[in-house]
Amino acid sequence: MSLRNSVIIVASPRPRVGKTLLARLLTDFHLHERRAVAAFDVNAGERTLAQFLPEQAMKSTIDDIKGQMALFDRLIAADGTDKIVDLGHASFESFFTLAAQIGFVEEARGRGIAAAVLFLITPDHASVEAYNGLQNRLPGAVLVPVHNEILGSAQVRHKYGLLGLGTVVVRLTQLAPGLRKYVETPPFSFSQPRLAGGAGAPDEVENELQHWLRRNYLELREIDLRILLRDLRSSIRL
């Protein structure tokens, strides 16, 4: 069966590693590509996905059964929409425990939906364990390691056993510190015509922001290809 839509879960067991930024870029990438998208913000605190993209993202919770039903029943709905989940670190364990328990990946595949996890890799032992655990807990999901360059060297990939296996680590390229202020105040969409805001910001700033955005969109296309490749492999096996 060919997978026509996807559910992409942006996750890490650690806070402040770039999950919400990645979820924002993904959502706006879909808008840029003119693909129907719905985003789900499973986060507490400030400057969350729902605040940056109030028209595309909705606050969600898995703390109670009603919240779980509202989220997961929507994620597996075959409605022609790609779904993106910004999973807060506090909900990491409970989300994936529930997903494994209720057979989320299998149900999604049965409905022609690919499930993918974008895992922000960091060098700590807990994250490495969590990444390896996901491969066992959700064997049918596409697991994509993502390195946020702002966190430092990409040498961290050796801790995940990724060297030499042909696993491509998707990069979240770093934005220059002086440019962050333009994109870090909600609400903000990367699909707006001018990233640097209204009149006053130099053209060089706008050009730099657009250049950064295009580099990241190229990386996000890698995720699309990864999911497509997994779909083709499954079709060949069948």
């Binding site: 059964i65 029943d73 597996i76 328990q101 209720i102």
Partner: protein, 257 residues
């Protein structure tokens, strides 16, 4: 010919989930392709029959005609397993009646395989009930079932008290039924279908239903845990002991050559 199996499901009080256990048993045997039938003694209106109408009859085991309906047909029924959901508070009485008609003697002689699922209540009164059961279940497979589906708490028996009641019982199995989310439980009740039908998202007519994926997932996970307990106590072996299975396989293999 394989001997028939009878499983009595009973409790000393109502509301402990014996019909729920009976339902999981029927689903378990259906999944194993073992033909099963059920008798619901909550005459005149049975609860079990609401969920498994095609295999369940409502009977009054105090009436001789219904006793005949159940026990006279054991040997010639297509069903290998007969599950009897005993009315609350009547497990001992029912076993006494079975003793009086010679049924327990048949089990002792090995003509029938008998299992008793005793669903425990939360109080120490259950221990007294267990003690009363001992004279009936010596030749039966006796299982104590702790049903946590409704978040019940069970009396913590101290080891000395526990042993004093159990010393007369040499071979007792224990089964634990875990908690099931209340909303999932409620939705299955509303749907009035077997657990496996709810998981498969089918209504009572076998047509596609509109049940929540999350609730179906909870029920699937819970049912697997319950069946895991049945596997652990080798319940299937009661119905078709390994020797019989091997004989059947050998015969089938010879017939195909």
């Amino acid at each position: 010919m394989a001997k028939p199996t009878v499983i009595l499901v009973g409790a000393d009080k109502g509301g402990v989930g014996k019909t729920t256990i009976a339902r999981t048993l029927l689903d378990y045997f259906a999944a194993d392709n073992t033909p099963a039938r059920a008798f619901d003694t909550e005459s005149p209106r049975g609860t079990l029959k609401r969920f498994h109408p095609e295999v369940t009859e409502v009977v009054d085991l105090t009436a001789i005609p219904d006793q005949m309906k159940v026990f006279d047909t054991l040997g010639n029924s297509a069903a290998r397993v007969t599950v009897i959901d005993v009315r609350a508070g009547l497990l001992s009485t029912t076993l006494q009646a079975l003793s009086d008609i010679g049924f327990l003697e048949q089990a002792k002689r090995g003509h029938i395989s008998l299992a008793v699922f005793h669903i425990l209540g939360p109080s120490i009164a259950s221990l007294q009930e267990i003690a009363e059961m001992s004279r009936f279940v010596r030749n039966a497979n006796y299982f104590l079932v702790k049903n946590f589906i409704n978040n019940t708490t069970f009396f913590d028996w101290d080891p000395e008290t526990y042993n004093s009641y159990f010393k007369q019982l040499t071979d007792v199995g224990e089964i634990t039924v875990p908690k099931l989310n209340e909303m999932a439980c409620e939705q299955v009740e509303v749907a009035s279908v077997p657990f496996v039908s709810f998981v498969a998202n089918k209504n009572a007519k076998g047509e596609p239903a509109d049940n929540s994926f999350v609730l179906r997932g909870y029920v699937r996970h819970w049912l697997r845990q319950v069946w895991g307990e049945f596997d652990r106590v080798n319940l299937i072996d009661l119905v078709a002991p390994k020797a019989e299975k091997n004989d059947a396989k050998l015969k089938a293999s010879r017939a195909s050559k």
